[in-house]
């Protein structure tokens, strides 16, 4: 299997080329180790960090920005949005606080990325 894609890890946006032969993936076009890591994941198990918002019960701050503390499978992004649509924050939050632990069983937390001062 061979694939060419743009690295999303940093603003350099390297064009990566990943090829698999006998279970060994070789990556070219990357300018750093993170690019190699990204390319390998892209070929085997593509993952993304989800950034979105959670509804609150406070009219002055109706939404609280959140993100997953690590990457989750790419094809779980839309299902994750449906789970998040069911959440409501009803208390003050500091940036970095956990909103949902072990989110959807992926081993990462859903964390606040902003303060919610009420």
């Amino acid at each position: 299997m061979e694939k060419t894609f743009v690295c999303i890890v940093c603003p350099n946006g390297c064009t990566l080329h990943a090829a698999e032969e006998n279970g060994v993936i070789s990556v070219t076009g990357n300018r750093c180790p993170k690019g190699e890591e990204y390319a390998k994941a892209e070929l085997t198990n593509p993952v993304r960090t989800l950034t979105t918002s959670v509804a609150t019960v406070f009219p002055d701050r109706p939404v609280l920005p959140v993100r997953t503390s690590g990457a989750i499978p790419k094809d779980a992004i839309m299902p994750a949005m449906r789970v998040i649509a069911g959440l409501r924050v009803n208390h003050a939050v500091a940036c970095g606080d956990v909103i949902a632990e072990n989110f959807m069983g992926f081993g990462v937390d859903l964390v606040a990325t902003d303060d919610l001062r009420v």
């Binding site: 743009v6 940093c10 946006g13 939404v63 920005p65 993100r67 990325t113």
Partner: protein, 414 residues
């Protein structure tokens, strides 16, 4: 004696960094912000990718802002929120700044001024979209405000005009929140946004990008009902016979940002028509002594890390401002560049680590950027590829430059 040594106007990433840098030098600093909280536009940038250079981490915009707001609060810097600057005047070498707050109007005086007023989005009227004026035509930043701050989804079926980064980010955001994004249309022949944003915001969600296409007409009375899309030629003029109508209720515009310099202009600051912000020296001091500028008010950056960097430099320089006359030389970028900043060099100041930011005018492979003083090359750097959407930064030792020297930035094939 003035009330403050340094007054910073705008508490976005540039202003926060400027206020911190001036405060670190022990100066009396006032930070003025129009909104109810500090952080500027970062507060609505809930996506990640911020801070890789500054913090070595991939933060969301609001996380990046929070870090700076906490530093400003911890330093005890005087801040006035919900405050609008209506007027700035320079009298006898001191700035008189008129502030409108909830408590009324007051005037403060300051020795130096830092303008960190950010930038504005170009609107439909500025890109010549004709037709009716229905609801549903938003700039990308307005749509972002609706979703990320107000928690409202303003769209169901969306067409995006322009491939700037905010437009790409909003294509993904609108999709995540349940809208159908029918396509991103770009009048230029190459995308405007960062390549990685095309990958993670469009490709990931199967959103098509059509270059050399633009919106030529909008339809609808109360609410947008459709847009007309046409192919454009290399001069970006619509090609007759290529028009197609697309049904949609929302048109998002991501057609460029312009530095906000209304206050700067009232002070008589000279603007650079290429960078669209004030002409400045390596310390970000404009051609009006004591007026410093940084961040997106200076030129539109694609990374916040560079916004903070220019803010910190401007703030530190504003703190050191003594009113002593500068001895300026010109730094001229040749036609291969879209623009380069700074445009002047103060030879009375430190030039050993002059930071130059630039963008190429066109996409170029294998290029060399060089800096020369009176025709003698003092710096070269090779690039595999240069793209207008991706700003570059170089650091050059220009301590040899004397007033009246001819300093040029040149771009040629490598």
């Amino acid at each position: 004696m003035a009330d403050y040594d340094v007054t910073v106007i705008g508490a976005g990433p540039a202003g926060l960094a400027a206020a911190l840098a001036a405060d670190e030098k022990g100066k009396r600093v006032l930070l003025v912000e129009r909104a109810a909280r500090m952080g500027g536009i970062l507060n609505q940038c809930i996506h990640d990718g911020f801070g890789l250079l500054r913090f070595g981490e991939r933060l969301s915009g609001c996380e990046y802002a929070s870090r700076y707001v906490r530093m400003v609060e911890a330093a005890g810097i005087e801040t006035t929120l919900l405050t609008f600057v209506t007027r700035v005047e320079k009298k006898d070498g001191v700035f008189h700044i008129t502030l409108v707050t909830k408590d009324g109007v007051r005037t403060v005086t300051s020795t130096a001024l830092v303008l960190s007023t950010g930038c504005r989005e170009r609107t439909a009227k500025q890109v010549g979209i004709h037709g009716t004026r229905p609801a549903g035509v938003y700039t990308a930043g307005t749509a972002q405000y609706y979703i990320n701050i107000l928690g409202e989804q303003p769209a169901k079926r969306v067409v995006i005009l322009g491939s700037g980064d905010i437009g790409l980010i909003m294509a993904r955001r609108l999709t995540l929140e349940g809208a159908e994004v029918l396509g991103v249309f770009e009048a230029k022949s190459t995308p405007s946004g960062l390549t990685r944003n095309i990958a993670q915001c469009l490709d990931d969600f199967g959103i098509p990008l059509h270059v050399s296409h633009t919106v030529t007409r909008v339809f609808g009375d109360a609410r947008l009902e459709a847009v007309e899309i046409s192919e454009v030629d290399e001069k970006m003029q619509p090609i007759p016979g290529t028009a197609q109508k697309i049904d949609c209720d929302t048109l998002i515009l991501s057609v460029g940002l312009i530095p906000e310099n209304e206050l700067a202009e009232t002070l008589g600051v000279t603007l650079d028509p290429r960078a669209k912000g004030p002409v400045c020296d390596q310390n970000y001091e404009t051609l009006v002594d004591g007026v410093f500028v940084c961040g997106n008010a200076l030129h539109v950056n694609d990374l916040v890390d560079y916004v903070s960097e220019s803010g910190a430099s401007a703030g530190a320089a504003a703190a050191d401002y003594s009113g002593k006359a500068r001895e300026l030389a010109e730094l001229t970028a040749d036609g291969g560049f879209l623009y380069a900043v700074p445009e002047r060099l103060d030879t009375a100041g430190d030039l050993s680590k002059t930071v130059v930011f630039f963008r190429s005018r066109e996409v170029r492979e294998k290029s060399q950027v060089s800096v020369s003083v009176n025709g003698e090359t003092v710096f070269t750097k090779k690039y595999q590829r240069l793209k207008p959407p991706e700003m570059e930064r170089i650091e050059v030792d220009l301590s040899r430059v004397k007033p009246g020297d001819r300093v040029t930035l040149e771009l040629r094939e490598a």
